[in-house]
């Protein structure tokens, strides 16, 4: 861990320079967002267990990486999440109700709020990284001062698209930020078996772009690194690869059982005790006199209220109609779609035919 860029130690002490960039209000907002993210994640798992939501991909443990990186963005930036980056999407402005809707199996859960460019969760691995090169490239060509950020995991770094994306971004100097949350496992395979390179950040050297390995549970380090990468991108100096080293406490998805491939309880407990992202910021804020038990209780209650309101909104969303599947395949529906749709909704011709 010592080789990681760190600003806030696991004990909640400043070990790096804040460079005068982080004010108290931002720090408190960071903490609030991380608490919201954790509560949202836990709520989602419960909903899945209750049968109110489909399979879900949890992210507990990765809050600092997601919240810190997304808080650095500005509204015009393009965000390409994986299926595990709900906290990043929510912090960038996606409504929690939409995220619930997505996991409840509604196609409308993928809709981005107007004026924000938040892509739907990307299910194939690493493929969204090249899209982030494309949108950033267009921003550059159109002289728009926006970056594109692609989230991905350690497993994605084995895919061809990872390399093609970094290579393209380097060649065309696109304002793209490649944000890896190295959470140690690609479903069941540990990073040591994923790659013989010791780090993901070192891959940046092959493409001659800046690469940095940071403590992904240190939200200050994440935020400051992002700010630097964004500035570089907006100054026309091209992409950055950020490897945020973190851990997912839970399963790959609610359909997965991590006990099969790792010592789930002791590993998660060890990470939680030694490096938890919420805990260390909370200790820091308490030591600064900015946080206390009362504020904590009030915050948790307020966040739960917001989550419950989003859930009510999602669960009262009108049921999708079967014919909705025919919409938005093409700009204009093809004759096949029109006919197949009427086949779907028309009454059976079998009626009245004797058996």
């Amino acid at each position: 861990m010592s080789s990681l860029y760190q600003v806030l130690s696991p004990a909640g002490e400043l070990v790096g320079d804040l460079k005068g960039q982080l004010d108290e209000a931002t720090m408190i907002k960071m903490y609030e967002n991380m608490v919201l993210a954790r509560q949202f994640d836990r709520k989602s798992i419960n909903l899945q267990r209750q049968g109110r939501m489909g399979t879900y991909a949890p992210f507990e443990g990765q809050e600092a990486s997601q919240v810190g990186s997304a808080m650095a963005l500005t509204p015009g930036d393009w965000l390409f999440p994986t299926y595990r980056d709900h906290a990043a999407a929510i912090v960038h402005g996606q409504s929690m109700a939409r995220v619930f809707l997505y996991w409840m199996g509604h196609m409308e859960g993928s809709i981005s709020p107007k004026h924000l460019n938040i892509m739907p969760p990307c299910v194939p691995i690493a493929t969204q990284m090249v899209h982030a090169v494309g949108t950033a490239w267009a921003s550059k060509l159109q002289n728009e001062k926006h970056v594109s950020i692609a989230y991905f995991g350690d497993g994605a770094s084995s895919e061809g698209d990872f390399h093609e994306a970094l290579n393209f971004a380097g060649v065309f100097q696109t304002p793209t930020i490649f944000f890896c949350q190295n959470n140690g496992f690609a479903i069941s395979v540990p990073f040591s078996q994923q790659s013989s390179s010791k780090t993901i950040a070192q891959r940046s050297a092959a493409y001659d772009i800046p690469g940095v390995r940071i403590d992904g549970n240190d939200i200050f380090a994440v935020w400051l690194t992002m700010k630097e990468a964004m500035q570089r991108a907006l100054d026309g100096k091209g992409p950055t690869l950020i490897e945020a080293v973190t851990f997912r406490y839970g399963a790959h998805t609610t359909a997965d059982d991590p006990k099969k491939y790792r010592d789930q309880e002791s590993l998660s407990e060890e990470w939680r005790q030694e490096r938890d992202p919420l805990q260390r910021l909370r200790v820091y804020l308490e030591n600064q006199g900015l946080w206390n038990e009362t504020k904590e209780a009030e915050l948790v209650a307020r966040m739960n209220e917001q989550i419950d309101a989003a859930l009510v909104e999602a669960e009262s969303y009108p049921k999708s109609k079967p014919e909705d599947m025919f919409k938005h395949v093409y700009a204009e529906p093809s004759w096949m779609a029109t006919e197949q749709e009427s086949e779907l909704v028309k009454p059976s011709k079998q009626e009245g035919i004797p058996a």
């Binding site: 196609m107 809709i111 460019n117 739907p120 899209h131 267009a138 700009a331 093809s334």
Partner: protein
């Protein structure tokens, strides 16, 4: 005297005119800039429009197509060149998982107006994997349009229509026809609508359906059989492979009662099967004989010492016509 162009010249002209007409158009591909593309389809365009609009990319099909998807989502209209159809496979995931689905996934909020141009088909004495005809892969995927011109006139008009289409278009250029012949091509920009087949030759006894390089084979067979056997063939160039022009197909078979489909793609699950299904659905009672398919075989396209034996010939098509006519 009217101006005549080869298909490759017509394709270049379509891109040139759209580059001039719409600043959102960008060309991307391997060797398309200074070199002008392996078939010279983009010759000189980099000098006219600069390296930001005619882009020599790294050699990476997923990278090219994936980046083009992002460009298309953020205001550009990328026209991608893949050097040969079989080289598209590394980018296949980007096409089917993303280009085809972006509009659907985002409920119409984002869409991907892009064109993927690629030479396809056999008969050019190419090395291994330079002669494939796997249009069915793309016609099977909802969200894509698939176009295959057979003449210089149609190539220009269809490519302009493809560049103006709001949906991703797979534009299959029959390699064998690039320089096979010239045809009058108007200088102005014009469009040939996507989704409309063309009755190339009217007839009353048998309908022949073909596209791309096989259109010429179908026309040859039709001419010979008319001369030799007095059979009148209606020859139809499908031009768009998805969505198929059902109305034109059905109108023709209702008139003739017989049909032959000619394609150089492998037989199994080739588009011939789809055309037969459409005929069964809509015009079975008009048919006097089963529809015959004259196709490539269910083998990898062989290397060129026996390439011609793989491809449908006018002889094979004639046999098929006679078989349906004498059923």
């Amino acid at each position: 005297m009217k101006r005549k162009l080869t298909m490759i010249q017509a394709i270049t002209e379509a891109m040139d005119q759209k580059l001039a007409d719409d600043s959102r158009i960008m060309l991307l591909g391997e060797d398309i800039g200074v070199n002008g593309g392996v078939f010279r389809a983009t010759e000189d365009l980099i000098h006219k429009y600069g390296p930001d609009r005619v882009v020599d990319t790294p050699l990476a099909e997923a990278g090219i197509i994936g980046a083009a998807i992002g460009l298309a989502m953020n205001g550009k209209i990328p026209v991608v060149e893949i050097q040969f159809l079989a080289f598209i496979y590394p980018g296949f995931e980007q096409i089917v998982s993303h280009a085809a689905r972006m509009r659907y996934r985002t409920r119409g909020q984002y869409h991907v107006p892009m064109v993927i141009r690629t030479p396809y088909g056999a008969g050019i004495r190419g090395p291994e994997l330079h002669s494939e005809s796997v249009e069915t892969f793309f016609a099977h995927v909802p969200g894509l349009k698939v176009v295959a011109p057979s003449t210089p006139y149609d190539a220009k008009g269809l490519l302009i229509a493809a560049m103006e289409d709001p949906d991703p278009v797979i534009f299959l250029e029959p390699t064998k026809l690039y320089r096979a012949f010239k045809q009058e091509v108007p200088e102005e920009m014009y469009r040939v609508p996507i989704g409309k087949a063309k009755v190339v030759q009217e007839g009353s006894d048998v309908s022949i359906f073909a596209w791309g390089a096989m259109l010429r084979v179908a026309e040859d067979a039709a001419k010979q059989i008319e001369r030799e056997n007095g059979l009148s063939c209606e020859v139809i160039d499908l031009r768009t492979l998805y969505p198929l022009d059902r109305d034109t197909i059905i109108a023709s078979v209702k008139k003739t009662g017989r049909a032959v489909v000619v394609h150089e793609a492998h037989k199994t699950a080739g588009l011939g099967a789809e055309i037969i299904s459409i005929i069964n659905d809509e015009a079975l009672i008009y048919m006097k004989a089963p529809v015959k398919r004259i196709t490539g075989f269910d083998v990898p396209v062989p290397q060129f010492s026996i390439e011609d034996d793989y491809l449908p010939t006018a002889e094979r098509v004639k046999d098929g016509i006679l078989e349906t006519a004498t059923f």
